[in-house]
């Protein structure tokens, strides 16, 4: 899992290559990052809602943050390295979409 050598990126390494680089040594790197961001964002929104009103809803916070994570994943799928590898691969984006659908369905029926 540890990245062995950063020199494989070549001398003309851009920001896109640096963003894609972790996925070359650990395929699910950005999937884990997105999941962590989702949990953090959901709990930040939940705690903020709890401070402002007495009736905080965790599912609605998760629904909002899952939509934000979906947008981030779509943006990530557009960032491509010089060798044509995207930052977020298609199967990971598909998983994000599937989780977003499940959370949205629960969110809509909870209301």
């Amino acid at each position: 899992m540890v990245c062995q050598d950063l020199t494989i990126m070549g001398s003309r390494t851009g920001i896109e290559d640096l963003l894609v680089y972790p996925t070359t040594c650990y395929y699910y790197f950005w999937a884990v990052m997105l999941f962590t961001l989702f949990i953090v964002l959901a709990f930040i929104l939940y705690n903020r809602e709890r401070e402002e009103s007495t009736q905080a809803d965790l599912i609605s916070s998760m629904g909002v943050s899952s939509t934000a994570i979906l947008v981030l994943a779509v943006i990530g799928s557009l960032i491509t390295s010089t060798n044509g590898l995207p930052m977020i691969q298609r199967d990971i984006l598909l998983t994000v979409v599937a989780i977003w659908i499940v959370i949205s369905a629960i969110w809509f029926f909870k209301k």
Partner: protein, 138 residues
């Protein structure tokens, strides 16, 4: 009606989200567009066709309902058109549910028992919904 409204808006929300992903990826020439995935295109196509057929279905049911001659029953007015509308919208709800759950079922590998429980709950809710319409109509 609450159940039907929830399904309708969920279908619209999911359909809009999937369309947004496809448009953004196509406009920015993504290297791995999600629209090329068979499962995704089948799911998004089914949701779109299910929602677009609602207009025709609603129109037919409205014509049937307005064209019906009310019959006086014991303390009520008998209207069978409302039962037909309930049956049709029940089919739409079940169709939307099946297409929406198809993608997470295949991608996340959700257990079949969970899906069976959800489908059973939806069908029973639809039966009660149709029966309530029949009771109020008849």
């Amino acid at each position: 009606m609450n159940l039907f409204g929830n399904w309708l808006f969920l279908g619209l929300f999911v359909s809009a989200g999937l369309a947004l992903i496809v448009v953004i990826q196509l406009d920015n020439t993504a290297t791995q567009p999600i629209s090329e995935d068979e499962l995704f295109s089948a799911a998004s196509g089914n949701i779109s066709s299910s929602l677009s057929s609602l207009e025709d279905t609603s129109g037919v049911q409205y014509d049937q309902f307005t064209g019906e001659q009310p019959k006086a029953g014991f303390g009520s007015i008998v209207l069978f058109g409302i039962v037909s509308a309930g049956k049709t919208f029940g089919t739409v709800i079940l169709g939307t549910f099946t297409t929406i759950i198809k993608l997470p079922l295949a991608v996340l590998g959700l257990p079949q028992t969970l899906i069976s429980v959800l489908i059973t709950w939806t069908i029973i809710s639809l039966i009660i919904f149709t029966w309530l319409l029949y009771k109020l109509g008849g």
